[in-house]
């Protein structure tokens, strides 16, 4: 009985097989090098590096039913977010200021507020200036794909390595339920016909980018009852065309966002539905589960929001010697790399002890069942966040085979600091609901009140592994659970997971 979903689903050569926590280890060296410190592509890099976005491209050329165009493009940000629109010149100034001050920022993305390629001049101008002035920053762009084929060659000129295309379907009948219209050849095109054109353009753009050696990530929004089953086909199709990562994001639809879906009462997927689908697609290609829909902002990376340091008037007065900054950035990146190597070795040891655990159990009838655990972290690959400060939890699955990252779950911050926690109980209940399938939550510290409520809900709080690498700590907790005998399988046939 193999409980490791990745190897279970077959195709070890093409999907991340083995016990490494980093799902990119299967990629060819050249691609690996490109993505190794890209926070959007590498689970491990996500802990150490960050990207930032600049909002230079407001217009959009299609309508998605999950988007309210009052706000930023929902394909990339969460609904209801409004960014301050920047001119390309100002955006470049801001990026350089942030890069000089936050060396972890390695990637600059343009993802909106609309579609960066709908009216591409502003996006391309920003990229052109940046590849000239800050050659150590990688560039990426996200698009709905409609205008992509026309600008692929232009994009390649500007040294862009990564493109994200949001592809929600490859079947126009499904598409017609997601996109009511597109703007195409100076006319509005509606319904199935619109979806047909959009899909053709997306697929063509994907092919053209792959041909030119540009990495392509595909984002899909999981919309229950619309494209849930269909996304498996999308995953297969985009993999066949050479996309190297597929990221399935949950639909977020609330009436207060004013989107079509929100107003019409279309529901989003449950954590379980999302996870099941991600598992189903995992056999087809590397899946990205750490995506937090762009919350890995450089300006917020270290847990505290540093946005106020980079307001327009402050940037205008900053004098930046980027040559000097670039040298300092290179030093810090080298330090980070040394740290990551050290952590990988430690994690490797944890896996060794897990597999010896399995060997020791060979004689028993059933293996211990896998367990989900939640972790509070601000980054760096270690457990370093107070339970009450966590805005999201990273969920991992521990089994006798490995520790595997499952996904990030957002929660509302329940402790605003101080003793003004009026709503503490209800929000805490919400967190408990979000983590209800987890059996332990690892954090640096936790208060008495949440401690007892978590315990009552069957989630064991654990503050004993503060500042330890995540995978290692989880392996240790899992070992304790195994040792205590609490994970012995009840039935004869062990199941992967039950909620």
């Amino acid at each position: 009985m193999d409980l490791n979903v990745v190897s279970q689903s077959g195709g070890c050569a093409s999907s991340g097989c083995g016990s490494s926590a980093d799902r990119l280890s299967h990629l060819p060296e050249a691609i690996r090098a490109k993505v190794d410190n890209h926070p959007c592509f590498s689970e491990d890099a996500h802990h150490h590096y960050a990207r930032m976005h600049v909002a230079v491209a407001p217009a959009c050329n299609i309508q998605c039913h999950y988007c309210n165009r009052k706000y930023d493009c929902s394909n990339e940000s969460r609904p209801g977010v409004v960014s301050e629109l920047l001119t390309p010149d100002r955006a470049v100034k801001k990026v350089i200021a942030v890069a000089a001050n936050i060396p972890q920022m390695t990637v600059l993305g343009i993802a909106g507020p609309g579609d960066p390629l709908a009216n591409p001049e502003r996006t391309l101008e920003t990229f052109r200036q940046l590849s000239e002035k800050a050659p150590d920053i990688r560039l990426c762009v996200s698009t709905n794909g409609l205008a992509l084929p026309e600008v692929v060659d232009e994009i390649c000129k500007h040294n862009i390595e990564h493109v994200t295309i949001t592809i929600n379907c490859v079947d126009p009948d499904v598409g017609a339920k997601i996109y009511p219209w597109i703007f195409w050849n100076n006319r509005r095109v509606k319904g199935r016909k619109a979806a047909e054109i959009l899909i053709a353009q997306q697929q063509k753009g994907l092919e053209m980018l792959v041909e030119r050696g540009v990495l392509v990530k595909v984002n899909s929004v999981l919309i229950p009852g619309v494209n849930d089953e269909h996304l498996k086909e999308v995953s297969r199709a985009v993999k066949a065309k050479g996309a190297f990562l597929h990221n399935v994001m949950p639909l977020i639809a609330e009436p207060e966002h004013g989107t079509f879906y929100g107003l019409m009462g279309q529901r989003g997927p449950s954590n379980e539905e999302l996870q099941t689908l991600q598992d189903a697609c995992a056999g087809d290609m590397a899946m990205m589960r750490h995506c937090r829909q762009c919350r890995a902002d450089a300006v917020g990376m270290l847990g505290e929001d540093r946005g106020h340091e980079f307001t327009l008037d402050k940037i205008e007065t900053m004098e930046i010697d980027y040559e000097a900054a670039m040298a300092r950035r290179a030093e810090i990146h080298a330090e980070i790399e040394a740290n990551r190597t050290a952590q990988r070795q430690q994690t490797g040891e944890a896996f060794v002890s897990l597999s010896s655990l399995k060997r020791g159990l060979k004689t028993k009838a059933a293996e211990p069942r896998p367990v989900l655990m939640a972790v509070a972290t601000t980054g760096g690959g270690v457990i370093n966040q107070h339970f009450g400060h966590a805005r999201e939890f990273l969920v991992y699955e521990a089994s006798v085979n490995d520790v595997r990252f499952v996904g990030a779950r957002k929660v509302d911050l329940y402790c605003s600091g101080g003793d003004t926690c009026g709503d503490a109980e209800t929000t805490l209940q919400k967190i408990i609901r979000t983590l209800k399938d987890c059996e332990a939550v690892l954090c640096s510290k936790i208060g008495y009140e949440p401690w007892s409520q978590l315990e009552e809900a069957g989630i064991t709080p654990n503050g004993e592994h503060a500042m330890e690498p995540i995978e290692e700590a989880i392996a240790a907790v899992y070992q304790e659970m195994v040792a205590s005998g609490q994970l012995e399988q009840a039935g004869a046939e062990p199941q992967r997971l039950t909620a």
Partner: protein, 92 residues
Amino acid sequence: MAFKIVEGCVNCWACEPLCPSQAIFEAKPHFMIDAKKCTECEGEYADAQCASICPIEGVILDGLGVPVNPPGSLTGIPPERLAAARAEIQAR
């Protein structure tokens, strides 16, 4: 004759770069069309560009003051089908 942007415009910028007459400009509380410049896209395009990309129903009026994108025209769901469509979507 000229087109007009009215209340409800969400300032999404989609129309502005498309106007062949540079008649559209950013303003408060919403984008506006300079009536002296707007040509209704005559001789340039078969359809008025602003009204062909605007994502909001009812916010662009033609020369006669009639909304170019009436209710239901952009969602694809005519008002009389709205309740049924909502029920369908909620059953998903």
